[in-house]
């Protein structure tokens, strides 16, 4: 029985589920951060500083060729850190349009000279004349975005999020903040898993969720209920914290211990950036 309506609902349901799975995988899973690899073996504080340096370099350089070499470095680091290149490229390519939007917007506005009313014409004007500098600009822009996004994605893939948060502590962010954010993060994961489970559970009870009116009601009710459950959960977690002596001022392990190779890595990063800057300057 091929009911077209049924098909459509099935498609929507599958899309929601796969979007959820992708989000969970892309933002919440720590699969690669838990692997043994080059970046994972280094202190997250040093990684963060090195990557910030690379990022500043990528954004400041005016030569697409030099930025590409940073991009290449990024791919090499990804390989050394046990991340399959295909997967890495896929993940960065998905984020690039998103980031581009944020970066393109301000540059667009800088083209709008004050007093000129029709800016759509202006945009057409720019795309209309494909000059050499224009093309260079576009290439430069794309390479720059690709390199920056890849750097950010690589750092976030190879560092556990709780550690990235702890790096914030090094920069003077209070512990309560770090604990709260890392916990919300965790419950986001639980929340996503819960919704996934509800879909599967309802499906196993009702058969196919989507073409069944009853099934849809169950899903709606469950999502509301999930919210209640999460608030109840946060109260329970608070009790669990109290039980183990929490008094409102959390004390956590000071987790980082710098090794010689961390300093070596930082030195390499600084040398690479200095070299690129020098090249960019003399080019």
């Amino acid at each position: 029985m091929s009911n077209p309506l049924h098909k459509k609902h099935d498609f929507i349901e599958r899309s929601i589920l796969s979007a959820l799975a992708f989000l969970k995988d892309a933002t919440l899973s720590e699969e690669y951060a838990n692997r043994k690899g080059f970046l994972q073996s280094l202190d997250p504080r040093f990684n963060t500083i090195s990557f910030l340096a690379f990022l500043v370099t990528a954004v400041s350089l005016k030569s697409a060729l030099l930025i590409s070499s940073l991009y290449l470095l990024c791919l090499i680091l990804a390989t050394l850190s046990g991340i399959p290149i295909r997967k890495f490229l896929l993940r960065t390519l998905i984020f690039i349009p998103l980031f581009s939007l944020f970066i393109v917007l301000p540059t667009l506005f800088s083209f709008v000279t004050p007093g000129e009313p029709v800016w759509s014409f202006h945009v057409v004007g720019i795309t209309g004349i494909i000059t050499r500098p224009g093309l260079d600009g576009a290439v430069l822009f794309v390479v720059r975005v690709a390199a920056s996004v890849s750097l950010v994605v690589l750092l976030s893939m190879t560092t556990r999020h709780s550690e990235l948060l702890k790096v914030l502590r090094v920069f003077g962010i209070p512990q309560v903040f770090v604990l709260t954010v890392s916990m919300s993060y965790r419950y986001l994961y639980l929340f996503a898993t819960m919704i996934e489970n509800i879909f599967t559970a309802v499906k196993s009870r009702v058969g196919v969720v989507s073409h069944h009116r009853h099934g849809q009601n169950i899903v709606a009710w469950n999502i509301a209920n999930t919210w209640n459950r999460t608030t109840q959960m946060s109260e329970d977690v608070y009790m669990a914290m109290l039980s183990r002596g929490y008094t409102g001022e959390p004390r956590l392990l000071s987790a980082f211990h710098a090794k010689p190779q961390d300093w070596l890595w930082l030195l390499c990063a600084v040398v690479i950036c200095a070299f690129l800057f020098y090249k960019g300057y003399t080019l």
Partner: protein
């Protein structure tokens, strides 16, 4: 009496003032005792343990711990509370709730750190309790991605690291495989032999012979319907049956149906 750990007198508790969870509970627990609180789901076992841990407070009646009454706003927010929490540790029914830190190591460290234990000593304790509970290989894992048995062992480790005098276990063996159950029972028994007071809520009759000398049975009326030695309770079939604690098997033999119950130590046939 100085060796009385808990004195529970006519305790009533209801959630949000309308869902009764305990009504009229009395019990006295002495230092070094092994106690089991058994009852079907929803009979108030978890609520009792939270009252004993000073996390919630009775609507009526009193809970006294180490000779001092547990009161909200006096006990919880002052120095005495800190001392109390160091002496009493609760292993929650839901390990997902108990484990809220980003790594197993940090979860184990959380308790001792709150009590001001120096970091060197905390690191020593982490290794020690990890060995006792056989979770050394899990220290850098994320707690919520572990299996239920692993979570349970980490949850116990996080309480053991505080080294309390009294352990409250809420259904410590529910949903675990036989080997993990064995491991946890051994842990409870050895803690008791080191002089720790143990109070376990469970509906698993198979384990109470080992983990309890005294058993309290909670009934549907949300209070204690019976109490006594583990042996006498286990032998009281009608008590266990009427409180929904033994399952009844239905078998077909040569077309005839016959019904019988199982006691924990009897072999299934």
């Amino acid at each position: 009496m100085s060796d009385t750990v808990f004195e529970v007198q006519d305790v009533h508790y209801s959630y949000l003032g309308k869902f009764p969870a305990l009504s009229g509970v009395n019990m006295t627990i002495r230092s070094g005792e092994k106690i089991a609180v058994i009852g079907a789901n929803g009979t108030g076992k978890s609520t009792l343990l939270q009252l004993l841990d000073g996390l919630i407070f009775p609507d009526r009646g009193t809970v006294t711990a180490f000779g001092e009454r547990l009161l909200e706003h006096s006990e919880v927010y002052e120095k005495a509370a800190h001392r109390f929490r160091q002496r009493v540790g609760l292993v929650f029914q839901n390990a997902d709730i108990q484990l809220f830190c980003p790594s197993v190591r940090e979860d184990i460290a959380f308790g001792p750190l709150q009590f001001g234990v120096a970091e060197g000593e905390v690191n020593r304790r982490i290794l020690e309790v990890a060995e006792v509970l056989d979770i050394q290989h899990l220290l850098d894992r994320v707690p919520h991605q572990l299996s239920i048995g692993e979570k349970r062992r980490v949850a116990i480790a996080s309480v053991l690291a505080i080294d309390p005098d009294v352990y409250l276990f809420d259904e410590p063996t529910a949903g675990l495989d036989p080997l993990t159950v064995r491991h946890i029972i051994d842990f409870i028994v050895s803690a008791n032999q080191r002089g720790k007071t143990i109070i376990t809520a469970t509906h698993d009759l198979h384990i109470i012979g080992e983990i309890a000398d005294t058993v309290y049975v909670f009934g549907r009326n949300k209070s204690i319907v019976s109490g006594g030695s583990a042996e006498s309770i286990l032998n009281d079939r009608s008590l266990l049956e009427s409180n929904n604690l033994i399952h009844i098997h239905r078998h077909h033999h040569d077309g005839r149906e016959h019904v019988h119950q199982h006691l924990p130590l009897e072999p299934h046939d």
